[in-house]
Subunit: 235 residues, 2 copies
């Protein structure tokens, strides 16, 4: 079966967590909105008056299923492609962790858009500076400290133990994104998360991920995505 991924064609954004899982799994998929008439197809599916129209991208078409919400898609893909345990207890635990990554991603976005997604960054730079300061003082240490501690407590190799999962791929993306958006702040912070840095490096050399990152399927970070580099916020 060929999956169809629907996501904004010019950013990594939330779709990237799904792309990383599909790529690592070597799954056959089309990144629909990056092709001809793909955006139209995406919008049409969201506006459907029957079936299961998603609220927002990313969503995945898998045969007859249309699955929305990043963590939901990963949960579906995970146990089918060796990136999650098959037993319920393990799946629930992994999904819980991915939803915590999801919460963190929302807070990353809020650093540059604290007054809401509909206004331009340029119209909210002052509040963005305050939100970003709080993010690095309080939220990054809390979230990444939690993952660092779990990693240590589970042997230090992959977050939940001996096997890599989709959450490890997502944590790779978090480290990449923070380095892109906040190079100065992240550099100062990295000594607190040695385990996550090692995990990041282990993900980066997985053969399918390495190939993906070097391909033009990997969209470059840019200032339309979740992780944005604004000099005013990286002090």
């Amino acid at each position: 079966m060929r999956y169809e991924l629907y996501y904004w064609p010019s950013i990594q954004g939330r779709g990237e967590y799904v792309r990383l899982a599909l790529e690592d799994a070597g799954a056959d998929y089309a990144d629909v909105a990056r092709g001809d008439r793909g955006m139209g197809a995406m919008v049409k599916m969201m506006e459907a008056r029957s079936g299961t129209p998603p609220f927002a991208p990313p969503f995945l078409k898998a045969g007859k299923l249309v699955i929305g919400q990043t963590a939901n898609i990963l949960s579906y893909l995970g146990s089918r492609h060796g990136l999650a345990p098959k037993a319920e207890a393990g799946r629930l635990w992994l999904h819980q962790l991915q939803l915590t990554v999801t919460d963190f991603v929302v807070e990353v976005h809020d650093t540059h858009h604290p007054l809401g997604p509909s206004m331009y960054y340029e119209d909210q730079i002052g509040p963005a500076k305050k939100r970003t300061a709080e993010f690095w003082d309080e939220r990054v240490p809390k979230y990444l400290g939690y993952f660092e501690r779990l990693l240590q407590d589970h042997g230090g190799r992959w977050l939940t133990g001996r096997k890599a999962t989709y959450v490890d791929l997502s944590l790779f993306q978090i480290v990449e994104g923070l380095r892109y958006a906040f190079p100065k702040r992240m550099k100062a912070f990295e000594r607190k998360i040695p385990g996550l840095l090692d995990l990041h490096d282990r993900v980066a050399v997985r053969p399918n991920i390495k190939t993906y990152l070097a391909s033009d399927r990997r969209i470059a970070f840019n200032e339309d995505g979740i992780f944005r580099h604004y000099k005013a916020l990286d002090v």
Copy 2:
């Protein structure tokens, strides 16, 4: 089996979506942190160095399982207590919808804390006013318009069709919360969501919900929760 729910004892917050499901199902549960030494027990579980310590409340202990993240808990409870379909396609769809409710709840919280959760509301009233204006201009119509449309397209009774699910209980809570936090704004908006208002009323008279709402197990809305009534934001 007696479930143990762990959540902050003095607010509805995110725990309320779980409480509503447990109550509607007539499930046997303890609201642990509201009892003696409950807060200590909750913190201890979050700080555990083995097992599956959650990042934050709410979490549910179900036998040996410790399940964190509201939507994950509801997914677990749903198919066991007749509040979700048993087949995978239906479960994925329902979970997708609940995760969209989750996204909306984050945005509700951001109305009074746009500069981040660590600062007091009183120190961010100006930005809160701007964020709230955007929330009502753009976000409420987008989210509730989506649910209203789905409801109409699925027969108008319950969100996904003929049977009530945990998502319907959550939408009841969304309507309740918006009415509490923003009575003026919500009153002006309600004519746009007649279906959701009917759904709200249908949930409110479900026997177990009716009993719950009249009991002291239902914590009153207050200004420590997600839905907060601040006059400056309700214009």
